[in-house]
């Protein structure tokens, strides 16, 4: 099999292409097996050092990446930004160059500025960079988790083996992405990923929470939210990013919920076999009603569980040479 992701930085979904996405999902299926063993650890990345640099608060993504690295037997070097030299005025570039000088193989980076991982990828000599979320730009592993989880669910229903289904399960699916798209890096990654996988993507949000210009995006803007819900196979509900000022883009959270929240009433409009995803953390009662979140059509728990195998796959591919990975 050809290997497009091996040995590459993982900065944005578009860099992977559909082949890269398929490859990464397949590797993740294999690592999912490891998760079900009694000793949940493989020696794959023994001797490699993975640095996790989170310049922005995060619990689940950071834990998930660090767990993934440890499952692969890599050593994890974790920079606690709050107590680091960054607070003393050190630049991102100096921080990264200092850490690379300690002999690391991969940098998992989260930063509030869009494009920071691209810049870091230019600054490092040999380390591979994995984007764990940059500003409003991209959060590729989160989108991959969503596709991975949806594929498992749909394969199960169709009685297929997930790892053999490639991306065919996405062909022609109606995916509806709802909510604060303007401030969402998850949405940008997801839209690229679903579109590359062959799905038809529609977005719905209040006018102020749409990105400024989506004319070149592979999406349609829903004219009628309710109609879009009726025809959706997958609904991706996004978090209202209050910390990024989403609140000031709508008159009130209450009005947002009334107009674009995934309320119980709206969930009734969905097809019986539709699926709901949410990147977490959920704000129950704002973008999603509690009963919808706990509905069996909602995949949020499974998404969280799939975080580790996806990130194992991302680390494994980034740290393998193209030759190794294609030896199949």
């Amino acid at each position: 099999m050809s290997s497009s992701a091996a040995g590459q930085h993982l900065l944005a979904i578009d860099d992977l292409g559909s082949e890269g996405i398929e490859e990464l999902l397949e590797v993740a299926e294999a690592f999912g097996e490891v998760e079900r063993r009694s000793v949940r650890k493989v020696p794959t990345l023994k001797g490699k050092v993975v640095a996790s640099l989170f310049f922005e608060e995060s619990t689940r993504t950071r834990l998930s990446f660090e767990t993934a690295a440890k499952r692969l037997s890599a050593d994890v070097l974790s920079l606690a930004v709050a107590s680091s030299s960054v607070k003393k005025g050190e630049s991102l570039r100096d921080t990264v160059e200092t850490i690379e000088a300690m002999g690391i193989d991969a940098v998992v980076l989260r930063h509030k500025s869009a494009g920071a991982p691209h810049q870091v990828a230019r600054w490092v000599n040999r380390a591979r960079v994995i984007n764990a979320g940059d500003g409003f730009h991209q959060h590729p592993t989160q989108a991959l988790i969503d596709l991975f989880t949806v594929r498992q669910e749909l394969s199960l229903r169709r009685g297929q083996q997930s790892e053999r289904s490639g991306l065919s399960v996405f062909e022609g699916l109606n995916v509806l992405v709802v909510g604060d798209i303007r401030h969402s890096r998850v949405a940008r990654s997801q839209i690229q990923a679903y579109a590359l996988a062959g799905a038809i993507v529609t977005i719905a949000s209040p006018g102020t929470l749409l990105p400024d210009d989506v004319s070149s995006w592979p999406v349609t803007v829903a004219e009628n939210f309710e109609d879009a819900l009726r025809s959706a196979d997958i609904v991706s509900v996004l978090r209202m990013q209050e910390e990024r000022g989403s609140g000031s883009f709508v008159p009130s959270l209450h009005e947002f919920t009334a107009t674009f929240g995934m309320t119980e009433e709206r969930s009734m409009l969905l097809k019986e076999n539709a699926l709901i995803t949410h990147p977490g953390p959920m704000v129950r009662g704002v973008e999603i009603a509690s009963r919808v979140a706990d509905d069996e059509r909602c995949l949020v728990r499974k998404q969280v569980a799939n975080g580790v195998p996806i990130r194992m796959a991302a680390l494994f591919l980034a740290l393998s040479s193209p030759e190794e990975a294609s030896r199949d």
């Binding site: 570039r93 869009a114 494009g115 691209h118 500003g135 210009d213 004319s215 070149s216």
Partner: protein
């Protein structure tokens, strides 16, 4: 003892035509223009064979960073970049630290200019500290010869205050110049607002932010009768608004920067802060409209917005990096590239880079009031001050950031082959650049 210099064998670029002429300069003044002039003994010969000889260039928009930003540029280093670019005069912008908002700082920068290798005109701030809150002492600064006022770096946000500034400036017979970007619309934006900014997850600075303020300023200028100059216009809409206002008789001039004539927002795709600038790089459509406006006279002048920045302020995440790029040393060739390449008309080039900006900056007459400046952007004719440039249109130098005269390295043109080379620059009769080498 008189000092004779003969610029020999060049094509002299006049206001409307070109002629093959020699130019004899005696004691800093052009004393003969014609073919095969006799050479008095002891005359310095400046070889201009195959070259254009024109009035040295005048920049309406230079950030010299002194006082306060000497790690990025000084008056001396900026002046050196200027003469290497063929300039004999530059307008120093007031966003220094402290801002140029009082006669004391004006005097300081003028003194630094006197010691440099070209004429430095000083732009005063419109408001105290450029904070947009109350008027700076315009009359006090005008007394020292300041004729051009701006809060550049930012626009005057309060329309009422801007109206007052224009009313006051009209009485002083000085120019009000504005950096047109409405902060409420530009916000934290760091590149052009477009489908690209939406894709890159970068907050945009919409064309609208510029055009809203251009429209406001034009209305205020029409109402007050003040002479208005619009700095670094960057959009199709701004060009149209200015053209319309000129038709209506508004007393307005406008400039465009070389980077807005050549570069587009696509360069931001890799998140390299070298391409971050305010107003931002726009689209190919905007570039085309600005070129057309410059050709038609809708936009009057090319001004560099030369903005040196120390590397540590650029080597940062895109949204956090300082906006601005260098331009002074290469503006002639870049403008030529934008206006038709090798076929561009030298008459037009010298009009937009020298003669018109000199008029806007009121530098066409020498001013002895403050130990003063000489006359710039004039005709190549007997009696004129010898502020001249000799440009080899066949020269093809390549931009190398490590050999720039500026103290900073933030040029977006690294590796670019330039259409033409500045061979000699003559300021007040002195050869300050000889064969492409700065003499001091």
């Amino acid at each position: 003892m008189t000092d004779h210099m003969l610029i020999r064998g060049g094509t002299v670029v006049h206001r409307e035509t070109t002629t093959r002429s020699d130019v004899l300069v005696v004691d800093g003044i052009i004393s003969l223009v014609g073919e095969h002039l006799d050479i008095p003994a002891g005359t310095t010969i400046v070889d201009a064979e195959g070259c254009w000889v024109g009035p040295a260039l005048v920049d309406l928009h230079t950030h010299l960073r002194e006082p306060g930003g000497e790690e990025a540029e000084t008056v001396a280093s900026g002046a050196r970049a200027g003469v290497l670019g063929g300039y004999s005069a530059v307008m120093a912008m007031p966003n220094t630290s402290p801002a140029i908002d009082s006669s004391a700082v004006v005097a300081q920068v003028l003194a630094l200019g006197q010691a440099s290798c070209l004429d430095v005109a000083v732009a005063g701030a419109i408001t105290v500290g450029r904070l947009g809150e109350r008027l700076a002492p315009l009359a006090e600064m005008a007394e020292l010869g300041v004729t051009f006022f701006t809060d550049d770096g930012t626009g005057v946000q309060n329309a009422g205050l801007m109206r007052r500034a224009m009313e006051y400036a009209r009485g002083l017979n000085v120019v009000i110049a504005d950096h047109c970007e409405d902060d409420a619309l530009a916000g934290d934006g760091c590149m052009n607002e477009s489908s690209l900014s939406s894709e890159l997850g970068l907050v945009g600075r919409p064309a609208l932010a510029e055009e809203v303020m251009v429209a406001r300023d034009l209305a205020l200028a029409q109402h007050t009768g003040c002479e208005l100059h619009l700095l670094h216009l960057s959009t199709v809409g701004s060009a149209a608004l200015v053209a319309q206002a000129k038709q209506a008789g508004v007393n307005v001039t406008a400039e465009v920067a070389p980077h807005h004539l050549l570069l587009t927002e696509e360069l931001c795709r890799e998140y390299d802060p070298l391409y971050k600038v305010h107003p931002p790089l726009r689209t190919a459509n905007d570039v085309e409209a600005l070129r057309m406006a410059l050709r038609s006279g809708g936009i009057d002048a090319v001004a560099t917005d030369h903005a040196p920045h120390a590397p540590e302020t650029k080597d940062r995440p895109f949204a956090e990096a300082t906006p601005g790029m260098l331009g002074l040393q290469h503006a002639f060739a870049l403008t030529r590239e934008a206006l038709g390449g090798a076929d561009a008309d030298p008459v037009l080039l010298f009009r937009v880079l020298s003669r018109t900006p000199a008029k806007i900056a009121r530098l066409t007459q020498s001013d002895q009031r403050r130990g003063g400046h000489s006359a710039h952007g004039g005709e190549i004719a007997v009696g004129e001050d010898a502020n001249l440039v000799v440009i080899d249109p066949e020269g093809r130098p390549v931009v190398r950031s490590e050999v720039l005269a500026s103290k900073s390295r933030n040029t977006p043109y690294e590796g670019r082959t330039l259409l033409g080379a500045v061979r000699h620059t003559i300021v007040r009769g002195e050869i300050v650049v000889n064969d492409g080498v700065a003499q001091r």
